[in-house]
């Protein structure tokens, strides 16, 4: 290959979708490239011009515009454009302009067509215009099913093994030397029929005959007064119980409990690969959110609960590491959060005595939606029985609210900056008053007021009389959908926070073309997406609080085409999991987890998917404007 073709090839081979091509196809592409230069400010592709080649940016930067002149995308070195027009065989739809001096590699249409025909990944990439959101989300869900924590994850060392012709003393020495509490027994063999037969790395065949543990040495040698020279083979031991390395951790635990054993050899097919100790499993399960929840309820003080904060974080990191979906993680972290709150209320009640009137501790925001991540503010309120008399009872509930709120703060759920907490007198009211609040918000939607109060439209009971909150949910579900004015106001609020257009080099690219150094993925992605979903959910009278549940009900009600809700669901999942992954990384790096993400910390694939998720959100916001128009406008 000639040097200049190699120059071209080296460059394109580093960028998607070319990075996945075979060498032969790469050579073909590089050999067919034509080159052209555009000065900054000149038009590269005019609307309705003909498209003969795929454009690849070798250097410089370009902008792509919509029909109305709005910025559609900004592309830099290694990016491509023109693929959709080429695929559809149509003239240029979105004009392109050089914003820096730009050198383009043109890949002629026949070569482009051949790439699409021969390389499926290439075809997918250009067909979806770099979008892989749907397949990424589905893939991670599949992966998650598969890994469900195999027992091999708990193995930290190779098994220590000894021939059973050796003496007890030799075994004890070996175990001491390796600092292990068990040793596997082998004898040379050639009995192919036995399922205990395996071949070691040197090709020698062995039969796995048993295992000797510290306990055996104590019981069968020392207590029995046997000689240290006793051959291992002569100690009677129980039938060896083993587990396959691909079995789940919980299966391993069950096997040990069922057989009342502490140590379990792990085999890969027939070859021993390690021994797991029940304590390994217990240690592992300690980070399990189920274990964590039961641990929460055994704590007897706020201090004790606050000390669990590292474990809460560890279980979050573990869920992320295991590749759980955001929905699973959100569910698990929410049950941890609720348990903490319940325990704090129980502790407060134990301190203050029984409540003078029935009440319900209510939560809003992520806890109500069951999508809590780490590092989220507390949003809570108290709904009191209508028999509540402020003068007689409020001292009690004010104190209760204070204790719970302070406790949450101590446990890593900071005070709500917007004051949505039961400690606020406004949000510690009898049911009738709460009903009036909601009726007023729905009947007289003042956009400014709603902006402040829309947080209350995600609500759930955590402790006490759950029926109070259910009554509120019912009221909202029936009234909201009958009030176009309210829905329009809520919809308008949902447009307040817009997503960025995507990324450009190491910057966040805003809709108006400006650059930012980082993006708050919660404020610019997840929260506005939840806002959009909430409007539709209330519009169809759904009582669901979780985003995914709401989307299901929106689909069933036929409020949005099925394809649309799928897209929203993929976008929600992807934005949420990216946020969680970055937070888990922050925790592992010993930083305080937050919601700001720097573009340089986002991989190429994530960039494409994030861009698409932002696009889904942006389209959904535009649709909302049209679906719930403001009356009289």
């Amino acid at each position: 290959m000639e040097a200049e073709i190699r120059e071209i090839r080296d460059h394109i081979s580093r960028h998607p979708p070319f990075d996945g091509l075979t060498d032969d196809l790469l050579d073909e592409v590089a050999g067919a490239v034509e080159i052209t230069y555009f000065k900054a400010g000149t038009t590269i592709a005019e609307r309705d011009g003909s498209v003969q080649a795929l454009s690849y940016i070798r250097g410089g930067a370009v902008e792509v515009y919509r029909h109305n002149g709005q910025l559609y995308n900004r592309l830099g070195e290694g990016d491509i454009f023109g693929q959709l027009d080429l695929l559809r065989g149509r003239p240029v739809r979105f004009p392109v302009q050089a914003i820096e001096d730009t050198l383009l590699y043109l890949i002629p249409k026949p070569v482009f067509d051949r790439l699409c025909a021969t390389d499926e990944d290439f075809a997918d990439f250009v067909e979806l215009s770099g979008s892989r959101l749907k397949s990424t989300v589905e893939q991670s869900q599949r992966d998650n099913d598969m890994i469900a924590t195999r027992v091999r994850r708990l193995i930290s060392r190779l098994p220590v093994m000894i021939e059973e012709s050796a003496t007890v003393q030799e075994a004890a020495r070996l175990m001491t030397e390796h600092d292990v509490s068990s040793v596997l027994l082998l004898k040379p063999g050639n009995d192919d029929d036995s399922d205990r037969m395996f071949t070691d790395t040197e090709g020698q065949q062995w039969l796995l005959t048993g295992m000797i543990t510290d306990k055996d040495l104590r019981q069968r040698i020392i207590a029995a007064g046997a000689s240290a020279q006793t051959p291992l083979a002569s100690i009677s031991h129980d039938k060896l119980i083993t587990i396959q390395s691909s079995e789940s951790v919980s299966e391993a635990m069950l096997t040990m409990l069922r057989n009342n054993i502490q140590l379990l050899p792990v085999l890969h097919r027939r070859r021993p690969v390690g021994v797991v100790d029940l304590s390994d499993i217990v240690r592992y399960e300690t980070n399990n959110s189920v274990y964590l929840v039961s641990n929460i309820f055994s704590r007897i003080s706020v201090k004790g609960l606050a000390r669990l904060t590292p474990e809460v974080r560890a279980s979050f990191v573990r869920l992320v590491d295991e590749g759980a979906t955001s929905r699973m993680i959100g569910g698990a972290m929410s049950s941890v959060g609720r348990s903490l709150m319940r325990r704090l209320v129980e502790l407060a009640e134990a301190d203050l005595g029984p409540p003078p009137v029935p009440y319900c501790f209510m939560v809003h925001g992520s806890l109500a939606r069951n999508d809590q991540s780490i590092a989220t503010d507390q949003d809570n309120a108290i709904v009191l029985h209508d028999a509540f008399e402020p003068k007689r009872h409020d001292d009690y509930f004010r104190a209760l609210a204070r204790q719970v709120s302070d406790g949450l703060h101590a446990c890593g759920y900071p005070y709500c900056k917007g004051g949505v907490m039961a400690t606020n007198d406004l949000w510690r009211q009898p049911l009738a008053r709460w009903k009036r609040y909601f009726r007023d918000w729905i009947a007289k939607p003042d956009p400014q007021g709603l902006l402040h109060s829309s947080i209350f439209f995600d609500l759930d009971a955590v402790h006490g009389e759950a029926r109070f909150v259910e009554e509120l949910q019912d009221l909202i579900a029936t009234r909201a959908k009958a009030s176009p004015q309210f829905l329009a106001a809520l919809a308008r609020n949902a447009l307040g926070r817009t997503p960025p257009l995507g990324f450009f080099r190491t910057f966040v690219l805003e809709q108006d073309g400006r650059h930012n150094n980082s993006i708050n993925i919660k404020r610019r992605g997840i929260a506005p997406l939840n806002d959009v979903i909430r409007v539709h959910a209330l519009g169809v009278g759904s009582r669901a609080q979780n985003g995914f549940d709401r989307l299901d009900e929106i689909t069933q009600a036929g409020a949005l085409p099925a394809g649309q809700t799928d897209k929203l669901s993929y976008a929600l999942e992807f934005l949420s999991i990216v946020r969680m992954r970055h937070q888990a990384q922050e925790i592992q790096d010993d930083h305080e987890p937050h919601n700001a993400i720097q573009p340089e910390r986002i991989s190429d694939t994530e960039r494409h998917n994030l861009k698409e998720a932002f696009q889904v959100l942006s389209n959904a916001q535009n649709f909302l404007r049209f679906r719930y128009p403001s009356p009289g406008r």
């Binding site: 000639e2 200049e4 120059e7 490239v33 034509e34 080159i35 000065k39 900054a40 250097g59 001096d101």
Partner: protein, 243 residues
């Protein structure tokens, strides 16, 4: 002021390029040269945007056409719209004298590469036919012009001269002339480098790692497109550009 007098004298003394081509087409004995000159030249008032171009680059064993020789030739056809590296050509040729160590450092072509290469005389016809009908673009004409002329003279006993566009001379127009440059020189400020790689940087063109006649030809073509985009229009007549 010498340059002006020299230029004026040269203009008086020499015929136009079109006249020279017509005369050579008649006079030349070698069929390849005859064909090359007979293909003719675009009229000097033709807009550059209409003219097919070819970027040409040589690697040589040194700077002196009488003493040194060509070891490789790269050319890439293009026009103001598009550059076609895959339609280009590349030859390694065996110089008449064996390579010395310092000449290898100069052009980076090794003994083994030239050992089995043909002598330049055998490929000249191919080179000439690739250049015919196109206006040649080089970076620093004082290599390609005298070396090719010397090689053709040695092989066929006749001159091979033609107008060419020199991207280095173009670059010098902006970077080396004008009053501001004079003042800068007065204050001892180094003028900007007009070497190929440095000139390219000013137009945002990428850095190429290899030193190779065809890569340099491609790089020259890109530089010329960039110079045209920044300083000229496709309507610029050839007479403003060629030398």
């Amino acid at each position: 002021m010498t340059a002006v007098i020299f230029g004026a004298r040269q203009q008086q003394a020499s015929p136009t390029w079109a006249e020279y081509f017509a005369r050579q087409a008649e006079a030349c004995k070698s069929p390849a040269l005859k064909r090359f000159y007979a293909a003719g030249l675009p009229a000097e008032e033709r807009p550059i945007g209409d003219v097919p171009l070819v970027a040409l680059d040589f690697e040589t064993t040194g700077m002196d056409p009488l003493e040194h020789a060509i070891v490789s030739i790269g050319l890439v056809p293009f026009d103001l719209r598009v550059i076609r590296p895959s339609a280009g050509r590349y030859w390694v040729v065996k110089p008449p004298r064996p390579l010395t160590e310092e000449s290898i450092a100069f052009h980076r072509i090794t003994h083994s590469e030239v050992e089995h290469a043909p002598p330049i005389a055998t490929i000249l016809d191919e080179v000439l036919s690739a250049l015919a009908d196109r206006l040649v673009v080089v970076h620093y004409r004082n290599i390609e012009r005298p070396f090719l002329d010397a090689a053709v003279m040695a092989a066929q006993g006749e001159h091979c001269l033609f107008p060419l566009i020199d991207t280095m001379a173009l670059e010098a127009r902006w970077e080396r002339r004008g009053r501001l440059q004079g003042i800068k020189r007065l204050f001892g400020i180094q003028p900007a480098s007009i070497r190929l790689a440095d000139s390219r940087t000013r137009y945002g063109l990428p850095h190429y790692s290899s030193h190779h006649a065809k890569v340099d030809a491609m790089a020259t073509a890109e530089l010329f497109q960039a110079q045209m985009a920044r300083h000229f229009t496709p309507d610029t007549p050839l007479s403003d550009l060629w030398l």
